[in-house]
């Protein structure tokens, strides 16, 4: 016997898992949803008399989607430290941000180093890493090298106004990208104590 609202209850739960896992990599998210669905089907087969209440009990035992998905954001397994890398590398990740955009701290070598460290970090997802790579425009030294000639061209074409209208947003873009990465570092990955 099938519970009258089984599909609705299960699809609703899995949709909440997908929403909670929206910031995870697609492969990780879909694998988690597939595992949840497989578990639910296994549990249903063991029910002698399936009802809406038994379905809800299965979903309750699986747990709140936010808690389940938070487990997927924990540090890599196999380490014995108590704190996840999001906490232990917090200051180092901010140093990477500084290397990506802040004027006065950058040299022409720091931006490539910052990008390499950004991609090796576990503190941001792929989308954030792409934003941090593309929209920092090589950091301020490199952006001055590339966009100074552009500024002259724009000034020749449309006067100083055009160069300012286009130049100012481009000038602010690396700092905005670094600000976005800072926001994601602090708000997107909550720090939790991992099990030893």
């Amino acid at each position: 016997m099938t519970a009258p609202h089984a599909d609705q209850l299960i699809d609703g739960y899995l949709a909440r898992i997908r929403i909670a896992a929206a910031d995870l990599q697609a492969g990780v998210r879909e694998e988690l949803v597939a595992d949840m669905r497989s578990h639910i089907e296994e549990a249903r087969r063991r029910e002698s008399n399936e009802t809406d209440a038994s379905i809800l009990n299965i979903l309750d035992r699986l747990g709140d989607p936010d808690i389940v998905v938070d487990e997927a954001r924990q540090r890599p397994a196999g380490t014995t430290h108590a704190m996840p890398p999001a906490a232990s590398t917090h200051g180092f990740d901010q140093w990477k941000l500084a290397n990506l955009a802040v004027p006065g701290l950058l040299t022409f070598l720091f931006w490539p180093i910052g990008v390499v460290l950004l991609w090796y970090s576990t503190a941001w997802n792929r989308r954030d890493k792409i934003i941090g790579t593309v929209f920092t425009l090589g950091g301020y030294p490199w952006s001055f090298v590339f966009f100074q000639p552009l500024g002259h061209i724009l000034a020749d074409l449309g006067g100083p106004i055009l160069s300012l209208v286009i130049g100012i947003p481009l000038f602010l873009l690396p700092a905005a990208a670094a600000g976005y990465l800072t926001y994601r570092l602090r708000c997107g990955y909550p720090i939790r104590a991992a099990m030893a």
């Binding site: 988690l32 595992d35 949840m36 699986l62 747990g63 997927a72």
Partner: protein, 93 residues
């Protein structure tokens, strides 16, 4: 990992075993943990046909997983001995 030290098991089986010990209050959290263990090379998986339903994914330890489990076991024994000693001292005093 200790649950699959001797024989491969599928996730639902492990959840039932952990549920009996009271160690797992949120069953769903085992799945992302198992995925991480697999990505880190500590466990490997294999699909097997099931007599009463669709195929199941079985988990077993890799050699690296066995080393990690052995290291954790050693640390745990040291920790447990230290705590037991302190608790015994506390009882005597």
């Amino acid at each position: 990992m200790a649950l699959i030290r001797q024989t491969p098991r599928y996730a639902f089986e492990m959840i039932e075993a952990l549920g009996k010990t009271g160690m797992l209050t949120t069953e769903g959290t085992l799945y992302p943990l198992l995925s991480r263990l697999r990505r880190d090379g500590l466990v490997k998986t294999e699909w097997r046909e099931s007599s009463d339903g669709p195929p199941r994914r079985y988990y077993e330890l890799t050699s690296e997983g066995r080393r990690a489990l052995g290291a954790f076991n050693a640390e745990w024994m040291t920790f447990r001995t230290a705590v037991d000693t302190i608790l015994q001292e506390g009882k005597k005093s």
